[in-house]
Amino acid sequence: MSGFDARMRPLAVRAGLALLLFAVLPAVLAGFDRSYYYQVANLALIFVLLAASLQLVTGVAGLLHLGHAAFYGVGAYAAALLSTELGLGFTVTLPLAGLIAAVIALLVALPTMRLVSIYFAVATLAIGQMLYLVMLNWVGLTKGPNGIVLTRGLELFGFDLSGRLATYYTVAGVVALSLVALGRLSHSYYGNALRSIREDDQCADAMGVRTARLKMEVFTLSAFFAGVAGALWAHMTGYISPGDFDFGESILILAMIVVGGLGSLPGAAIGALVLILLPEVLRDLGDFRNIMVGLVMFGCILFLPKGLMGEVSALRLARQQFGAAWRRTGNGVGIGWR
């Protein structure tokens, strides 16, 4: 690595990741030529996005959120209903699903954001459950437990993208773009303001950080990305039902960031991959798949309190990758993403 100019490294890393995501992985998938592998890859990518968006709220801003899956569900239902009832295509439903999830998050955030620690956590649990009850019981709108079958798959500006490889590329593209956005939010001055809230919100307040507003913003932003993930899921599978968005799902996403390490975006991605792929690898164990989630989570809390890649180690990584920009001797560009 020493041969590289320090400032080239992030580019190299990102180019490597992009290459892996958009060339190597699809080639491998095409090589195996089995739909099942495509599905697993897409599922893993969607959960990477869900974990990363939760990471922003829970890991970076320190607000324990126990209802994230509900906003994922709101996005999925929004996309499904817009598509089946109004005949809109994926190009329109994707951003709209994110926006609708964000608006609902903003509405529930207004009264609850004053709450601290466990009270916030419990309020998010209640909100998640309320949204879930709506999905389950408002049969007129959501078809209740029967779920919704989507008639239109993935497409972009009229191009049909419902083929296996095209679906993969669409999911990977949307997830990659979202991750870039989430990365900019968490590895920038904005992220530092969020971290200061996590560390000591009274003190952050005295430094001029608008804590209440920032909490609301980050909750809304994370719901936006959860909604985007929901739209991807709805159009990818063509069928959604309330069971995909219950409390267990929220906990699964939380377990991902706990396993990966709170506060670290790469950690969230690793945690999501571990908890999605491990059960797939261990398929022979059958029923033991879900119990693994609990065991891995417990083991991580007990033995790796910082997760696989907690804030501290993540900080070091961020500094190696992006630290060059912070040097005074650098090109003067600050702590924003370059």
Binding site: A193, R195, C203, A204, V312, I335
Partner: protein
């Protein structure tokens, strides 16, 4: 007189239940001053501090800062008007690097919406970075910028707190018991540092329990006892004030 003071406290009171922690205090700080606020334990210094910084609203009276009434403003609003502060019991952000700690001060006092961070925002990032490095340099922390704040020594954390407040580029800096827990040498270094900041044009108020530091560097000293102001004069006059000596129980504190 009105409107010319940087900070003006007029008849400020604060009642907690039946206790009048601050009782009709009038005081002011002018631009460029280095003022001390002292008093024995329980005199109401911390409460007055909290009234000024917006942590507690006053029960009565007004507090004006830069010509604006700041009663009832949130601490972050007061901070963004240009008031920087440190905490008595050292409240750094332990799991963030020194650089990130200090940058929060700069972030707090600049526009902080998410869209700047999302879509480029190079200018803002550069300004934050510049302010942060300037504050780190003033406080002599450039060498440990990448260190985790939790790993700093106690003495250095004090400077970290001050640097974080400096990154706000405040018009007025209040230091809450900066000398607490420091030995004599460290206190002397700190005194020199505060003098340097003052010489650089910063208006500073020092809230202290111990008189030594305050008497040594301040131009004017406000003394509180039992919630009331009992003296407001240059250090020499305060030193000779019998009321002050009495409040400090014989005055042999220094």
């Amino acid at each position: 007189m009105n409107g010319t003071h940087l900070l003006e406290i007029a008849g400020a009171s604060r009642r907690f239940g039946g206790v009048l922690a601050v009782d009709r205090v009038d005081a002011h700080v002018d631009e460029g001053e280095l003022v001390g606020l002292i008093g024995p334990n329980g005199a109401g210094k911390t409460t007055l501090f909290n009234l000024i910084s917006g942590f507690t609203p006053p029960s009565a009276g007004t507090i004006r800062f830069r010509g604006r009434t700041i009663n009832g403003l949130r601490p972050n609003q007061v901070a963004r008007l240009g008031m920087g502060r440190t905490f008595q019991n050292l409240r750094i952000f332990p799991n963030m690097s020194v650089f990130d700690n200090v940058s929060v001060g700069a972030v707090g006092t600049l526009p902080q919406g998410p869209f700047g961070a999302l879509f480029g925002g190079r200018d803002r990032a550069r300004r934050i970075s510049e302010r942060t490095w300037a504050a780190l340099e003033t406080a002599g922390l450039t060498g440990v910028a990448d260190e985790l704040a939790a790993n700093l020594s106690y003495g250095r954390r004090k400077y970290l707190e001050i640097a974080r407040a400096l990154a706000m580029e405040p018009a007025f800096l209040i230091l809450d018991e900066p000398a607490a827990g420091l030995n004599d040498t460290e206190t002397a270094d700190l005194a020199a540092f505060i003098r340097r900041l003052h010489a650089g044009g910063l208006t500073i108020m020092l809230v202290e329990h111990d008189m030594t530091l305050v008497m040594g560097i301040c131009q004017r000293v406000v003394v509180l006892a039992s919630g009331r102001k009992i003296a407001d004069a240059p250090p020499d006059a305060v030193r000779r004030d019998p009321g002050v000596l009495e409040a400090y129980l014989g005055g042999d504190e220094e």
